[in-house]
Amino acid sequence: MSISVEEKSLTGVPVPEVTAKPRKLRHYGTDLAASGEPFLWGLGGALALGILLILGFLTLIFWNGVTTFWPKPIKVVTLTDGSLVAGEPRRDDLYRVGAEVLVTLPEDVRAQIAAKDGYAHRVMYRIGNYDLYNEDFRWVPDFVVEKVETPRDFFFFERQEWGPFIGTIQKVTVNGQETDPAALGFAGITSEQERARERWRQIRKIERSDIGVINHEMEQIRLRLRRIELRQGADSPELHEARLQAEARMAVLQQDYARLAEQAAAIRAEDAKFSITLAEVGGREKEVPLSQIVRFYPANDMGLLQKAGVYFSRWGEFLGDEPREANTEGGILPAIFGTVVMTLLMVVIVAPFGVITALYLREYAKQGRLVSIVRISVNNLAGVPSIVYGVFGVGFFAYTVGGSIDAIFYPERLPSPTFGTGGILWSALTLALLTVPVVIVASEEALAAVPRSMREGSLACGASKWQTIKHVVLPHAMPGIMTGLILAMARGAGEVAPLMLVGVVKLAPELPIDGFFPYVHLERSFMHLGFHIFDVGFQSRNSEAGKPMVFVTTLLLLALIVMMNSSAIYIRNRLKKKFVNAHF
């Protein structure tokens, strides 16, 4: 009887005649319900869907990120109404044609669209020339297209301002002289443009770094006077003396400033003699200083090698330059720098605390109810939303702690806050708090994995507890701890929500590390890759224009995080293998 009950529970089907006809059992080979094939396919399908989603997602990012910088051909589209559109085709899709458009269309086009259930194909062109058109992109439905050409004389210009220009070269002015572009040739214009860029870089160097140094010193003098005034009083002799010194120094600085400004003006005057006149597809002309052109190429008249050259030069600019055009063009060096500095700072903070706590929990605390409660809370603190840490960070670190630091150490700068507002230190601390559970859990696991026999061996040899930990336990747990730290870094580098509250900005004027004393400025706000994605993709004037930039930034951030994660997984796997043999 008990057998039949067991069978019932396994197959879900009562088997009443088991005892009566035992021979029949042998033939029950095709119980389809028992194999549950439809359910299996449901389960497998879910897993396959999950994997396909992930693969699709990664492919989307990888493909878009990798192809963004590849120069695309310029198409000139003649529309049925006779007007011309020139641009890079960006993407195409099927869309539902609106009713108000449909009524304006001729009968046969309408019939075609109706045959496709009201959908029509369209292509989006990046038409550039924002200063002339007031739009960057234009959707062109197929039914308005007369013909599409790829003329060889169309160039793609990347400008310092106003985004790209798509059009033909009309004339080039070299040193005040109008020159025929055909005579100059592409190579000739390129070399002129490179020289112009060199001048532009000189001007920028003078205005940024040289004059920046002067401004910095002036600001320091002002702050010193203010500090003396606050400490010694408004009419103290010290202040009087300092003021005299300051005035002398200021006069020198003013002179330097005037000299540099003059230099810059001279280069600028020279630069004004070089310009290029461009014409858009409709014939409207635009004169652009040659130095304002970052890069230009004949999009339809290039070999593979040339294209590769443009591609890599764009990657170079992306990785090594500052952003321009409200972050939608140019490079992201400050964001990379900010992310790396913040993450490293975070690790420096989180490592000792996480490891010490793990040591305490595993090696020192008495294992009991309290420790298990602590372990539960540490474990689920990892699940507290990151934004909560951000709120805590801004309220406690920035306003409370930072406010006190300002009041004690930087009274001369008040009321503008120094540490009393978001900054890289507070961000790192907030993220350290956020990731400390990750490090604790990983380090604890690593410590637990160190075989007891090793500890006992060390203690038996006469080593003290600390010596045992230092020389035996920690070295063996190190890979595991490293794994935890790397995972924490990966999490910290990708976190954006708390940073939005504690110190990330869309455009930081200064890097957190620079050439001015004390070289490391922990109070400064900074740029961050993740926030860059949010800002460009979401808050910029034209999210479509920023999209390629976002894809590349995303690719970079993802690569960073995947790299960290894979190395963590690799270390973990090696560790597992190592400890299989480590028992003695």
Binding site: S9, L10, V13, H27, L32, A34, G36, F39, L40, W41, G42, L43, G45, A46, L47, A48, L49, G50, L52, L53, I54, F57, L60, L94, R96, D117, P352, I356, L359, Y360, L361, Y364, S372, N380, G383, V384, P385, I387, V388, G390, V391, F392, G395, V436, S464, K465, W466, G494, V496, A497, M500, L501, G530, I533, F534, F538, L557, I561, V562, N565
Partner: protein
């Protein structure tokens, strides 16, 4: 094990070598050990305290929201007797006050000390002011006289900032910070500067308002408009019961500075004979006038057209037999405060109500009954910045209240008060002044957050301008008189909605995927899938948010028909594929078991997506009248096809149940006797037949529901918004799938393989083993995985900020946006003022999130630990 144990003296003494004995443990080792001991213990405990400290810090910031107010100082002093003071004013900085008597005597005094300053006389020509009206800012005043004339003027207290050099000579000190020259007060402020506060008196010539010479009994005065078009309006009621309204609009040409003034005056529709008007109130735009009679009847005039005012409504605002003592607007002039002789303090709204029996369609509605005074309400003043108000009664009680939160925040009392005392709340809500005949009482107060209570945050609140009480979050607006509305309910609701939809998507995929991975997947594939999923766990969500908002949302909007079809096509094609698989001969099945089978599954998934893409437009035409977005508004098509889709799985499940209970057993017995391929064919046919039957049943039910008049639109589906819960649910689901998947897979893997082996050895199929043995054993662990996934979804920020549209609405509609607690914090905290109400409210939102996730995670963690222990014991 203390380190001392290692240098045991017994051990050393047993050694023969003398030098060894003396060496012992080196001191440095001992010190290092001790220090490590301390550092690690202190450090470890510190981290734990820090972690707890977060919660306490958040709670500490939130705390003041629920604190009442504080009286920071109280002064009471004698002033020269003034019999019939009619007007009082105080400057913004609590420096000085001024009072005006009915016969024109003006006296100002220093608020902190009571020192008299200016004492002068306004030239009233021997007449007595019988009514006083002041503008909202109180600096401009209109006096109504006993001879029917009206005079305008200013009894203003102005402030300007001076440097030390600009101070006049011969000042005498009043207090630590204040100096005076006998008239103005100079207060030292930070930065070596001084603030001068002085009285500015202006009185215009009299204007005859009441031709009969009847005394003016009530007057109200307003200045409004913009800089280019200032308006001045006043309304009077005279002793004959005639109410007059005058509105002067000045147009200033900004180029020429020339001003043209257009004055329109009208007599309001006649009030009943012998009326005893006690108060009159008017809005700044002069589009409404309220005249109150002493017995509690209020006449509401619609004066939008000044030339032709109408009596819109006559209504009693106090109970029968109770006199009305105070009628005045709260800040914003939307709510009318009515004080009664029985001490009642009520607030009425003028609301547009369908079918109101009034001329303009509005009706006075009693919306708040504030805590009543014990004695008749005699004094009232409203805050200039918030919905706060102060009231005083005949017994001298002065209460500071807040209208919206309906709480009494401060209660103070003045001894020897009379009904004629004048009450004023200082412009910055930081002092209450009660002016008696021969003395004054000043209470310096601090009430930082009068508008928040547990009820206003979590309960329904009837805000001004709203037709009914509701849950509203609206923290800011460009308007000065705007009242911030802080209800966390829409945000908590949004959080729940986002979590619900994302789990709806994530849980089936993650759990089913985890079961398949641990029980059925080929080991080689398993080794590849697991790390990928783990890596997806740490994917930055900002990336997902970007994809959701900029790629997915427009895509879903265009292809909504196809997306809806996927939900139908995917399960159907997987099951269809499974039935086809059953038909395959056994040898082929065995050969293709493992990796190829899984690849087939993937291909089916892709195929069904492609199918949906191709058939999407046709599906949309057939089911949603050709345009799903238009369909959701409820204007075209019917709800039947959608209900059919919803009911299809239900009716299929019901039919299966019925089938299994009735002929299912017999059917399966027959199948067993067939060979496998034939059984597969028969079973597939059975499935198709049942699917068709389920289709018929669900269509019948859907039609029935439509006949009854039920339409799904307006509930879970409603008007389409581009950034909606569907997109958020999908992407956030995508974000939590790896979490749930890895934890559930770990739990399933932790089931000892002995159980698995025993089940298989007993003849159970792998499917039976998975469902009846592995899953029940791992259930608690799997449940914990879902809980942890839920915790993550609750707190997810970036995806919601970017893809959810951020509209704080209470609406389950899957096609509408939402705003979660976390997104709200991320969006509003950077703009909030430190220690302001919004700032603290956002901290409360963070605390709520913290507590919510902490609870969810703790439950999950406890369950998980218990499961681990059990799995270990097995």
């Amino acid at each position: 094990m203390r380190p001392a144990a290692f240098s045991s003296p017994v051990l050393e003494r047993s050694m023969t070598n003398q030098r060894l004995r003396q060496r012992g443990t080196r001191r440095s080792v001992l010190i290092a050990d001790k220090m490590a001991d301390w550092t690690i213990t202190v450090g470890g405990l510190l981290v734990i305290f820090a972690v707890l400290g977060i919660m306490f810090f958040l709670a500490e910031v939130v705390g003041p929201l629920f604190g009442g107010g504080k009286v920071e100082g109280h002064r009471s002093y004698q002033l020269t007797a003034m019999d019939d003071a009619v007007f009082v004013n105080t400057d913004e900085y609590r420096t000085m006050s001024v009072r005006v008597s009915a016969d024109g005597r003006v006296e100002s005094f220093h608020l902190a000390t009571g020192t008299p300053l200016v004492a002068t006389q306004l030239d009233f020509d021997g007449h007595k002011a019988t009514a006083v009206g002041a503008t909202v800012q109180r600096n401009d005043v209109a006096f109504g006289f006993d001879d029917g004339t009206v005079r305008f003027g200013q009894v203003a207290l102005r402030a300007e900032v001076l440097t030390e050099q600009m101070l006049p000579q011969g000042l005498r000190p009043l207090s630590e910070t204040d100096l005076t020259d006998g008239e103005a007060v100079y207060t030292s402020i930070p930065g070596n500067q001084f603030r001068k506060v002085y009285l500015d008196l202006v009185l215009d010539e009299p204007q005859v308002v009441s031709e009969s010479g009847a005394a003016i009994v009530a007057i109200d005065y307003r200045m409004g408009g913009s800089v280019e078009r200032p308006t001045r309006s006043f309304v009077t009621v005279d002793a004959d019961g005639i109410a007059r309204l005058s509105r002067a609009e000045t147009r200033i040409n900004l180029m020429t500075r020339a001003a043209t003034t257009n004055i329109r005056t009208s007599t309001l529709p006649a009030l009943p004979e012998g009326i005893q008007a006690s108060a009159v109130a008017m809005t700044t735009q002069a589009d409404q006038v309220y005249v109150a009679e002493r017995n509690g009847t209020v006449y509401r005039f619609d004066t939008r057209n000044v030339a032709e005012p109408t009596l819109a409504e006559t209504v009693r605002l106090t109970p029968q037999g109770v006199d009305l003592t105070v009628m005045a607007f709260l800040n914003g002039e939307q709510a009318l405060f009515i004080g009664g002789a029985d001490g009642s303090a009520n607030i009425w709204f003028r609301l547009q109500i369908e079918g109101a029996a009034t001329l303009d369609g509005y009706k006075m509605v009693l919306t708040r009954e504030l805590t009543p005074h014990e004695a008749p309400v005699t004094g009232f003043d409203s805050s200039m910045r918030r919905k706060s108000l102060v009231t005083s009664d005949a017994a001298g009680n002065v209460w500071f209240r807040h209208a919206t939160s309906e709480q009494v925040l401060l209660q103070v009392k003045r001894d020897g008060a009379s009904a004629e005392d004048l009450l004023m709340l200082s412009p910055r809500d930081d002092a209450m002044i009660l002016l008696g005949r021969d003395g004054a009482d000043i209470w310096n107060i601090r009430v930082p957050h009068p508008e928040t209570t547990w009820r206003t945050i979590f309960g329904k609140v009837w805000y001004e301008g709203y037709p009914e009480p509701g849950y509203t979050w609206q923290s800011s607006s460009g308007n000065d008189t705007f009242e911030p509305k802080f209800s966390l309910i829409p945000l908590i609701f949004g959080t729940m909605k986002a979590t619900f939809y994302s789990l709806l998507f994530a849980v089936p995929i993650a759990l089913m995927g985890a079961i398949y991975t641990s029980e059925f997947l080929h080991p080689r594939l398993r080794g590849a899938v697991k790390p990928v999923m783990e890596m997806m766990e740490s994917l930055p969500t900002v990336v997902l948010g970007f994809i959701a908002a900029l790629i997915l949302a427009p895509l879903v909007e265009t292809w909504i028909g196809a997306i809806m079809l996927v939900f139908v096509a995917l399960p159907l094609s997987l099951i269809a594929a499974a039935y086809l698989w059953q038909i395959l001969p056994q040898s082929t099945v065995l050969r293709l078991q493992g990796v190829p089978k899984f690849l087939f599954m993937g291909a089916v998934v892709l195929f069904s997506c492609w199918l949906a893409y191709m058939a999407g437009p046709a599906f949309e035409s057939a089911f949603f009248a050709g345009d799903l977005k238009a369909w959701t508004t409820g204007n075209i098509g019917s709800g039947t096809p959608f209900m059919f889709l919803l009911l299809l799985p239900l009716s299929f499940a019901a039919l299966t149940f019925v089938f299994n209970r009735s002929i299912g057993h017999a059917f399966r017995q027959r199948l067993r006797e067939m060979d496998k391929s034939k059984a597969g064919v028969v079973d597939a046919l059975r499935w198709l037949a049942m699917l068709a039957a389920a289709g018929l049943v669900s269509y019948a039910f859907a039609s029935l529901l439509a006949m009854v008049g039920y339409d799904p639109r307006g509930g879970v589906v409603d008007s389409y918004v581009q950034r909606n819960a569907l997109v958020v649910g999908f992407v956030m689901g995508f974000a939590v799938i790896p979490n749930i998947y890895t934890l559930a897979e770990d739990a399933l893997n932790a089931v000892p393989s002995s159980l698995r082996a025993a089940s298989l050895a007993s003849g159970a199929t792998p499917w039976q083993t998975a469902v009846w043995v592995i899953l029940p054993t791992a259930m608690s662990g799997v449940f914990a995985a879902v809980m942890i996934g839920m915790g993550r979804a609750v707190g997810e920020t970036m995806i919601v900020v970017m893809a959810a549209g951020n509209t704080p609405v209470l609406d389950w509609n899957i096609f509408n946006g939402l705003r979660t607690l976390s997104a709200n914090i991320a969006v509003e905290l950077p703009e909030s003022v430190k220690d302001g109400t919004l700032y603290r409210m956002l901290f409360l939102a963070a605390l709520s999130l913290f507590i919510m996730t902490f609870c969810i995670n703790t439950v999950a963690e406890v369950i998980r630990q218990r499961f681990r222990k059990r799995a270990f014991q097995l």
